[in-house]
């Protein structure tokens, strides 16, 4: 299993789907472990009834059907399917609406979905998802990208309320890939994924949504910066190590 994860870390991020299915066929006995530890780019389905897209993931799946957060119905329709309680569903609806605005503010487009369900510890789990296509042909406002995909998965476990406080554990995964193609720099592509966790004990006075929202915003911001400065920065450093820019190289005087 360690080795399988090691392999996944080294394969090109854009091939993670192929790598995962290859591993699933080699070691099917570990499939549930692999599937829970590895995230793949998100798929989307259209909920015709409400006219909106929703994101597919393990957390809104039952058998081969997926539950739309807009209509709360499974597509394709499913008998005896699982649903969140009506109270949780109310929170889920509110979360979807607010998260859509958050998404609009930061992503200027894209698709979002939130799913909630009760867990065994008298708390609940919420999954906030965002999928953005930032390419020229997608929702990229500035037209910089030939290709641009951002998938964010935030799974937050909320513990039972005790003395007006609750424990929140957030695990966020960002997967992204971007590519530009222009005259001077040719084909330039960066892709990757990172995952981090954040735990907090917060007062429930302003409501769970507020607390979860703030944590997600904070962690998403941190991950974005980390990807940009640390991760991409390291690759840039590596290029400069392989071939330092001209200014840093001692120039030999030309022979005549």
């Amino acid at each position: 299993m360690e080795a399988a994860l090691g392999l996944l870390r080294r394969m090109p991020p854009k091939q993670s789907e192929t790598a995962l299915s290859a591993l699933l066929s080699l070691i099917p006995q570990h499939s549930s472990d692999l599937l829970s530890q590895v995230d793949l780019p998100l798929q989307v389905l259209r909920d015709i009834e409400s006219g909106k897209d929703f994101i597919l993931c393990e957390y809104n799946r039952d058998a081969d059907s997926y539950r739309s957060p807009w209509s709360n119905k499974y597509l394709p329709p499913l008998e005896d399917a699982l649903y969140p309680s009506s109270e949780l569903r109310k929170l889920e609806v509110e979360a979807n609406d607010i998260f859509a605005i958050y998404r609009d503010q930061y992503y200027e487009g894209g698709i979002s979905s939130v799913y909630m369900w009760e867990d065994d510890n008298e708390g609940f789990v919420a999954c906030f998802l965002i999928k953005k296509d930032g390419s020229k042909s997608g929702h990229g406002r500035r037209g910089c990208l030939e290709e641009g995909a951002w998938d964010a998965i935030h799974v937050i476990q909320v513990g039972p309320e005790e003395e007006e406080m609750a424990h929140y554990c957030l695990t966020s995964t960002i997967m992204l890939s971007l590519a530009t193609d222009d005259e001077s720099s040719g084909k330039f592509g960066l892709s990757g994924s990172i995952r981090r966790q954040m735990k907090m004990d917060l007062a429930v006075a302003e409501g769970h949504l507020c607390n979860m929202g703030r944590m997600i915003e904070e962690l998403e911001g941190k991950l974005r910066n980390s990807l940009d400065q640390v991760y991409f920065g390291k690759t840039r450093e590596m290029v400069c190590t392989l071939r330092p820019p001209a200014e840093l190289v001692q120039r030999r005087l030309p022979d005549t």
């Binding site: 799946r61 200027e108 910089c144 720099s185 084909k187 960066l190 991409f232 690759t235 590596m238």
Partner: protein
């Protein structure tokens, strides 16, 4: 989870060949310099020596040639570059600079021995004059510009040409690799320049392909994949003059490309990345989670009035 146990997929045993193809896929997709780490993990996942060995025998040569790995020659004359341009036979690669042929073990990635190249494997004196001059100029450029670069010039067409009157073609390879496992980082630079000496037009047609890759994988996995094609030309002159002209052209394009890469990187945080996710909303403040009702009302009004961002 939605609450149900996942059903295990139906156990269809993979065939020997299927396993082998999968194993080869993993090996071939290893980032530069990391194939041995991939091999180790792969062996553990496969737990089948036979499949691994056969996959390795087939995958390593392809990987080694496409990454143009450099192997130290036991004769202590430097490194030989393993590439399709220097391949004489499946395990034999010529080093034109020292006129030796290296016998290599692809899977172990070492040069086991060398032998002198025979006359059929070497170019004619006329060609060698050009090749050698170019090789020297390229070496000089590489030693100036690449801390750990290695280069080679191979004649891939017309190597038996005795004198002026025919076309011939060289391939210049420049490769540099860095592996830093303790820093979870690796990178590679590969330049391949085709120099086509055209006798009739007395012109050298130059085509270059640069490929840069970098991989950083500390608590995450990020990869750079950049490439660019180049085209240039110069006039057919004496061996020394050609060498200098070609090296200058290569130096010029590669330096410019590096600068362009730097520009692409510097545009990332504020431009390119923004098309994916902004650092902050247009309001320049964090999202008002507690005031969202107000926010959505504003948004409705904005929409109705047709006010865009």
């Amino acid at each position: 989870m939605a609450g149900e146990e996942d059903e295990l997929p139906e156990e269809t045993e993979l065939s020997y060949d299927q396993k082998k193809e999968i194993a080869k896929w993993f090996l071939l997709n290893a980032p530069a310099g990391e194939i041995n780490y991939v091999a180790k993990d792969l062996k553990a996942v496969l737990s089948d020596e036979e499949v691994y060995n056969e996959a390795a025998m087939e995958a390593f040569p392809v990987y080694n040639k496409s990454h143009m790995i450099c192997l130290e020659m036991p004769s202590r004359d430097g490194d030989v570059i393993v590439s399709s341009y220097s391949e004489i036979a499946e395990n034999e690669y010529i080093d034109p600079r020292t006129a030796q042929v290296a016998i290599v073990d692809h899977v172990k990635q070492i040069c086991t021995k060398v032998r002198p190249a025979n006359d059929e494997e070497l170019p004619s004196l006329y060609i060698e004059e050009y090749r050698n001059a170019l090789d020297a100029e390229i070496q000089r450029y590489v030693s100036e510009s690449y801390p750990k670069g290695i280069s080679a010039v191979n004649c891939v067409k017309g190597k038996d040409t005795e004198g002026p009157g025919s076309d011939f073609e060289f391939v210049v390879i420049i490769t540099a690799m860095r592996l830093s496992p303790q820093n979870f980082c690796s990178g590679s630079w590969r330049s391949v320049w085709n120099i086509d000496f055209q006798d009739e037009s007395q012109v050298l047609d130059i085509k270059g392909k640069l490929q840069v890759g970098a991989h950083y994988f500390e608590e995450g996995n990020v990869e750079l994949d950049a490439k660019k094609d180049f085209q240039d030309s110069t006039i057919f002159q004496s061996a020394d003059d050609c060498a200098i002209a070609i090296a200058n052209i290569i130096r010029h394009h590669e330096t410019e490309y590096l600068a362009a890469l730097e520009v692409a990187y510097s545009k990332l945080p504020d431009n390119t990345f923004k098309d994916l996710r902004r650092k902050l909303p247009v309001t320049r403040t964090l999202f008002p989670w507690q005031n969202t009702l107000q926010f959505s009302l504003t948004r409705e009004v904005e929409k109705e009035l047709g006010l865009g961002k």
